[in-house]
Symmetry: C2
Subunit: 357 residues, 2 copies
């Protein structure tokens, strides 16, 4: 099996046991002598998958029956549209914080639906920090934030208390740390970083915020239609949801969010300490906003990139090239990435320093 | 491996070699020492999958570069909305034929977008036939049909020539028979019957019909946005698309659409001949509209259903319970179902007759 140290920014690394169980299900799912790829989503065996997936989300988030959980296709990008379509009234407005490319896209879609105010942005410094000290309008229909920004490696370390429904794109750090989920009215996350493969998106929504716009809605964009259909209004992305369930099972079995939070902190500390210590590297983001999921860093001498690349590739590392908007390097350390992989990267950085300092 | 005769109406049976290749890719994709479930969709290895998937669709449909192919999430139900959203103008109207539950849902979404005329329907007889002899309005923005109706077991045996863009939901019989694809301006199909697992939907669209509504569109619902993004405007359903590619490869390798059309005809003839011959069964649809994909039939003595059920279950048959709207039985014979499975069902029907006639 894979000895690659997979730092891919997303779709990202999944636990080895989940990959094996996924492969098995492609051949014989749940002892049905049928592949998971060729059975009815209305079968009892698959309905159990949907039910367990939803229950695991609620358990890991510690929320009650005032919330509903959905697994839909279309990615977080579809949620950029569905959130305002379901929540933004004709006479009201939405409030957004702009922390990068994905927040910018969410804002763009919201503006197509209705009035959208950007109340804070870190665009002035290429999104290398998280805006703070803004005031959330008390009369907004909702307030939208992005908890973690993969491209720039920034992360909100705390969440504002707010009087209006708090909506959060948690695609790249969901279930990576403890949060008070009850402070949020809607959380969505494309599965493909911390909770499964590409192809399904989790939405957890507090039911009492829905149904208030009076808008006549397309069925597939209407959260209430999907809730009524038990997340199976139409054929769901069967296999991606199953793999998400396996990933959530893995998380729960090992100790849940507080367990992984601790490991994620160790991984982040290990790498950021090395970035700060090592004479050859420099971090790109404000220290207090550094993401525990995605660490972005540059070489002090960019002309040495080919040399550094040779070293990490030789060590079996994959996926640490930085996003074109930032350049340099980005090490994504999602839940399933072992501490050992970060140690390998740190060792490579030390070896690089020894050779080129 | 599975010895189940899988007549599931959908998600439906896939070729055994495709299931095995899918399982392998969950562990080690393309000799990358990484799972397909944890690699970037922007990797060269995966871009090759998207490219090949699109090329296979165009090759099997024998269309040129005036068409584009997309693989999106959301299912055919999302296309019920996207078709009118992209094609129906504020002052124009759409024309639909209603041939069942899915067409009804497509019509419902279109009515949310704009003026929608149902020019023919078979609702009067619970959709057990395909309407004929209607006139297609020459000034419609487009004309929408459903080529095969899984629930009722009806299928359009020919397609109308038409002056307006012809749009077809081909979810349940795509690539099952030769068609003149160039007569269509837009074909869509949820993959989970004849071309892959649940979670991705294929759209083939003639580019010159797009961009005419003047509507300001949500990005994820805009075909032109997805075309510009090469079907990767956002993270696509990576694994479902890969399995679709494998299924299309399997089809091409074995002889393409004319090869499978021949086998599908043999399967349908075998089963319908038995339904007509056997004193214990009766078909539910107009004979001239019988679907080669889904054969619906009833017992003449419904009180014997428990006895018939015992027989087919004992023979390793799965998934032939009829839809609740029709009752009785439905044998779905998608591309990957072997002729041998149909023979097993026919043998069971003969045995049933011998015992209970």
């Amino acid at each position: 099996m894979s000895k690659v140290h997979n730092f891919s920014a997303g779709p990202g690394i999944l636990p080895l046991e989940v990959l094996k169980q996924s492969a098995d299900a492609c051949i014989n799912f749940d002892n049905m002598n049928l592949s998971l790829l060729e059975i009815s989503h209305r079968s009892k065996n698959y309905e159990a998958v949907i039910d367990e997936s939803k229950a695991l989300v609620k358990e890991l988030f510690e929320v009650g029956d005032d919330y509903e959980v959905l697994f839909l296709g279309g990615g977080a990008s579809m949620q950029f549209a569905m959130v305002p379509y379901n929540l933004l009234t004709d006479n009201g407005f939405a409030a957004y914080v702009n922390t990068g490319v994905w927040a910018t896209k969410a804002i763009k879609e919201s503006k197509i639906i209705g009035k959208t105010n950007v109340i804070a942005t870190s665009e002035d410094k290429n999104f290398n920090y998280i805006p703070k000290g803004y005031e959330i309008p008390k009369d907004a229909d909702y307030f939208h934030i992005t908890s973690n920004n993969t491209i720039y490696g920034t992360q909100m370390k705390s969440f504002p208390k707010c009087d209006v429904p708090l909506v959060c794109d948690m695609s790249s750090d969901i279930f990576s740390r403890r949060i008070n989920a009850k402070d949020f009215s809607l959380i969505y996350a494309g599965a493909q970083k911390n909770m499964g493969p590409a192809g399904s998106t989790m939405i957890m929504v507090k039911k009492d915020i829905l149904g208030k716009t009076g808008r006549k809605m397309l069925s597939m964009l209407d959260y209430q239609v999907h809730i009524k259909g038990g997340s199976m209004y139409n054929t769901p992305p069967v296999f991606p949801i199953y793999v998400s369930m396996l990933t959530l099972r893995w998380l729960k079995k090992n100790g849940g969010v507080s367990w992984i939070e601790n490991i994620n902190q160790q991984k982040a500390d290990l790498l950021y300490n090395e970035i700060d210590r090592n004479s050859q590297f420099v971090g790109t983001t404000a220290k207090e906003d550094r993401s525990n999921m995605n660490a972005c860093f540059l070489l002090n001498k960019p002309e040495l990139e080919p040399e550094f690349d040779k070293l990490w590739k030789g060590a079996g590392i994959d996926g640490i090239r930085g996003h074109r908007d930032v350049g340099g390097y980005r090490a994504s350390m999602y839940n399933a990435l072992p501490l050992e992989s970060v140690q390998v990267l740190v060792d490579v950085m030390k070896a690089f320093e020894a050779k080129f300092a």
